[in-house]
């Protein structure tokens, strides 16, 4: 398994050079991407330049960091200087930012080898990656199935071994859900622990950047690297809970694992069974399973859609064809130009959410929807606080189902929104959540489970996830794609 620590070991013991490694990743991308469609932009030259620099350092006998020289990818909504950043939308085609996202600045300074930018639902709005202007990224376990969304490209690339790890963003489950679908690990950090500067905003009060990795250990390594206070982000707090890597493998005897029955409502049997089996694994390790109700969760989904769409309608107003990105050819005056550009540049799902967001903020509806949703957000935050008086970690499914066939998601928007039901509460309450594989269903598709912790207690959920993998195995299967290490 091509984890970060494995690659680090290979590089430091000179089993291969960083350049060789990078080349083999680029070659495998060339082959696999035709079917996976994980990458929308491969940056081979830049990757090889960095690899060369790393090789030089190794040759000079200098010590290299854990992330140094490790081939990785960024979701295409993270701003990368001089490298096209499209959010997989027609409206941002050709846009080459003039600044780097803070997370990329950090990783770049550690000589991370970025192989390219990965596919996503347009502006991160979707649960299957199919709203991408470039077509969806496919599931490496079964390319007739979706990779999940919105960070489908990162998950597809990491699950398909054409990147060791990647950074995605999670507004309502966009890291955890595709990680679950692709049989890998996805961590959505506490709101405020990772700087949002340079993350193209979907819903600013919900968005958070996090790692998608092959192992819990890798998630911890990447999280520790990127969770830094950033003066450019007013909502940044940094890694308040402290670094997590050294706290993996702490004993979890006596840890209280909570299960809220609302999280299991409407969940497919195979998924439910896998999650309840995981609870048994925890029990066998001496953890205590606590059951309780979280009735407030039934409002989480509409609250999420109201807040997310409201913020999105505002965040996406700036795409007007004047400063960057796509601009329509034919128009009659500025207003007409803006409307045409937006109507041609945005896909249907994005337009739908902009319209919904505009509606819930408009005069006469603000109180009934937006204000009420904010009020309920407070209620949900409080409900989680109460729950964490009863337990240390909440165990839940990541998604009520496994990866579905492509084309399944687009027919009914409301039904599609329901796939986010287990992931959105974490975003609403700003909590950290991690999805890890916990088995496979009858079709051989991976099942993910979710561990939710208190704010800035990433180390608690990472540790719990790590211990689970130690006890139950990593439930990791190499797919047929990519670099075999």
């Amino acid at each position: 398994m091509g984890t970060i620590s494995k690659i680090h070991e290979m590089l430091t013991t000179k089993q291969c050079s960083c350049t060789e490694l990078t080349k083999s990743y680029l070659e495998e991308i060339e082959k696999a991407n035709k079917e996976l469609n994980a990458y929308v932009n491969v940056t081979g030259d830049e990757a090889l330049n960095t690899a060369k620099a790393v090789d030089k350092k190794i040759a000079e006998g200098k010590e290299i960091g854990l992330l140094e020289g490790v081939p990785m990818t960024l979701k295409d909504n993270l701003s990368t200087k001089n490298i096209e950043t499209t959010c997989c939308s027609k409206i941002l085609t050709g846009y080459k930012p003039i600044y780097d996202a803070t997370v990329w600045e950090i990783l770049k300074s550690q000589n991370a080898v970025m192989l390219g930018k990965t596919n996503m639902d347009e502006f991160a709005m979707g649960s299957s990656c199919e709203t991408s202007y470039f077509g969806g990224a496919m599931n490496p376990f079964d390319t007739s199935r979706v990779s999940g969304g919105s960070s489908g490209g990162v998950a597809s690339a990491v699950g398909g071994n054409i990147a060791a790890y990647g950074l995605g963003s999670d507004t309502g489950g966009s890291i955890r859900q595709p990680a679950s679908f692709c049989g890998i690990v996805g961590l959505k950090p506490t709101y405020g622990s990772v700087s949002r500067y340079g993350l193209v905003a979907y819903a600013s009060s919900l968005d958070q950047i996090g790692p998608i990795t092959k192992s819990v250990e890798d998630a911890s390594i990447v999280f520790d690297a990127i969770a830094q206070y950033d003066e450019k982000d007013s909502t940044s707090k940094g890694n308040v809970g402290g670094e997590t890597y050294s706290k993996l493998n702490n004993d979890i005897k006596g840890m209280k694992i909570g299960i809220a029955k609302e999280y299991l409502d409407g969940v497919r049997d195979d998924v439910k069974e896998a999650v309840l089996n995981a609870a048994e694994v925890y029990k066998s390790m001496g953890a205590e399973i606590v059951y309780f109700d979280l009735p407030e969760l039934k409002f989480a989904l509409p609250v999420y859609y109201i807040i997310a769409c409201a913020e999105a309608s505002s965040n996406l107003g700036r795409y007007d064809g004047i400063r960057y990105g796509y601009k329509t050819e034919h128009y009659n005056g500025t207003h007409d130009m803006i409307c045409r550009t937006r109507s041609e540049g945005f896909g249907d799902e994005v337009k739908r959410r902009i319209l919904l967001g505009t509606y819930v903020l408009s005069a006469g509806y603000y109180d009934a929807y937006y204000k009420k949703a904010q009020n309920l957000r407070g209620t949900i935050v409080k409900a989680f606080n109460n729950a964490f008086e009863k337990c240390d970690v909440i165990l839940a499914p990541t998604v009520p189902m496994t990866a579905f066939e492509k084309g399944h998601a687009v027919s009914d928007p409301v039904e599609t929104y329901l796939t986010d039901i287990c992931t959105v509460p974490v975003n609403i309450a700003g909590l950290p959540g991690i999805s890890i594989p916990c088995g496979f269903n009858a079709n051989g598709m991976p099942i993910g489970m979710q561990l939710i912790g208190q704010s800035f207690k990433e180390s608690v959920i990472l540790n719990a996830a790590y211990k689970y993998q130690q006890a139950a195995g990593e439930n990791f299967k190499d797919t047929k794609w990519g670099v075999k290490l």
Binding site: L92, L199, Y324, L361
Partner: protein, 475 residues
């Protein structure tokens, strides 16, 4: 201009935008300097590149608090930033970060010279938009000014005449310049007014339908636009028509107002809390600290000049109009017997050398307050007469030199009574024509005689005493 016909009364409120004198923009480190090549005072944040985030300038908040305190407002303990959504090319994010639900300052007032208080609804902070240039149907966009911090001072509809409107704007300008938070240059756009205006029958308490004249950038235009709009609304009502609530622009070339928005600019701003910015909490200690730091405000100064220094109201107003002048006056007054003498020198001689309002505001005169103070003290101690002081001041203003560079020892000490009597006698004897004229009732003729005494005494004679003596001699 009263703008009050027999039947109708004008009702107006102001929304005044003032650019704050911070060094940097409200949400990024770009300079706020006026001018500059287009799009050179910009960065990813202020041109709204995807993924960028705002960070609030501490000084902008402080300046806004100063404005609130200087207008007698309350500073909110908790204040928040909201997004005002509207899509227009001069707004790089398609929303303006502003405050609606929890503005920084609440209430307050501006007191006019007629004693009326124009109440303020609130003052909030927000960002300025960029600049659009329309040429042959093409639109050019420059974001240098986009993101410059503004305060918006929203008044209640308390203004009842155009004179009051003028004074309200002047008073705001004066007070904001005093506290140093803005240069309030209307011609450069660092102060702009939107005027809400309605009319109602005299005696009615009910507000009429109002129109809003946007973006007025000179006091004269405000007056002209209000006058036009008052008459237009009165005409409508007189003809049995209704005033439509709408936004107007004023065209000073034609002196008319016309509707500004078309259907495509539907306005529903969909304000909501900006999730990229956090709450502003202002402690009471901080408010007091800022209050302490404020300079003496013009209204207080004016009152003090009248009550304590005994200046006429007119003088007090002239001296307090600009902070520089009032500070000059305060400095020059230190330890003098008659503040009025200092006031006379400034208003008489110095103002004739600082003719324009702009010159007065800068008040760059060659004589330092200490030099003027020295000159006045020479009068106080009886060493020189007023006339000599006056002519000396002219020389001082020409050269920047001190009083003692122009006045010799012999000039000081005035005239003894005998010399005075002798000089007066000489004047009467050598000017029989003037004496004759005076005796025939030409009062003014005596001035020529006094002038003769002054000339022969080289300015040392006291003109009043000389006149009395001459009258005595002539009988």
């Amino acid at each position: 201009m009263g703008c009050q016909t027999v039947k109708y009364e004008l009702v107006a409120g102001f929304e005044t935008h003032i650019e704050l004198a911070t060094k940097t923009k409200i949400f990024c480190g770009c300079t706020t300097q006026f001018g500059g090549e287009p799009n050179t005072h910009c960065c990813p944040v202020c041109i709204g590149l995807p993924g960028t985030l705002p960070k609030l300038n501490r000084q902008a908040v402080r300046y806004a608090i100063m404005a609130g305190l200087a207008t007698h407002g309350e500073i909110a303990e908790e204040s928040k930033m909201d997004r005002k959504n509207y899509c227009y090319p001069d707004l790089s994010k398609a929303y303006q970060i502003s405050q609606l639900y929890a503005p920084l300052c609440i209430g307050g007032y501006v007191e006019l010279s007629n004693g009326r208080k124009i109440r303020l609804h609130h003052i909030h902070i927000e960002e300025d938009a960029g600049k659009l240039i329309h040429q042959h149907g093409d639109t050019y966009v420059d974001y240098n000014r986009g993101g410059v911090p503004l305060i918006e001072i929203v008044s209640e509809p308390d203004i009842r005449s155009i004179d009051e409107a003028r004074e309200y704007v002047e008073k705001l300008q004066q007070v904001m310049r005093y506290i140093g938070i803005s240069d309030c240059k209307m011609q450069e756009g660092s102060m702009r007014c939107d005027v809400n205006i309605s009319v109602r029958p005299v005696g009615s308490e009910k507000l009429g339908t109002r129109t809003e004249i946007k973006n007025m950038n000179s006091i004269n235009n405000i007056a002209k636009a209000m006058e036009y709009e008052f008459e237009r609304q009165v005409d409508l009502l007189e003809n049995g028509e209704k005033v439509t609530q709408e936004t107007l622009r004023y065209d000073d070339a034609t002196n008319t107002t016309s509707p500004m928005r078309s259907k495509e600019d539907a306005h529903d701003y969909r304000y909501f809390r900006d999730p990229d910015l956090v709450t502003i909490n202002i402690s009471r200690e901080e408010v007091e600290e800022i209050r302490e730091s404020l300079p003496e405000l013009p209204a207080d100064k004016c009152k003090r000049y009248i009550d304590e220094l005994g200046l006429p109201e007119k003088d007090a107003q002239l001296l307090t109009k600009y902070r520089k002048i009032s500070e000059y006056f305060d400095e020059a007054c230190k330890g003098v017997k008659s503040a009025k003498t200092v006031a006379n020198f400034i208003i008489g001689q110095m103002f004739s050398r600082t003719e324009t309002e702009a010159d007065k505001e800068i008040f760059d005169v060659a004589v330092t307050p200490a030099q003027l103070n020295e000159l006045v003290k020479l009068i106080d101690s009886g060493k020189i007469r007023n006339n000599l002081a006056k002519s000396t001041l002219e020389k001082m203003l020409d050269t920047g030199k001190g009083a003692l560079d122009f006045i010799s020892e012999s000039d000081m000490g005035g005239l003894d009574e005998n010399t005075m009597a002798e000089l007066c006698k000489q004047a009467v004897e050598s000017n029989p024509k003037a004496v004759e004229d005076y005796k025939n009732g030409k009062e003014k003729a005596i001035k020529a005689l006094v002038g003769n005494v002054m000339k022969n005494s080289r300015g040392k004679a006291d003109a009043v005493a000389a006149e009395a003596k001459i009258k005595e001699l002539i009988g």
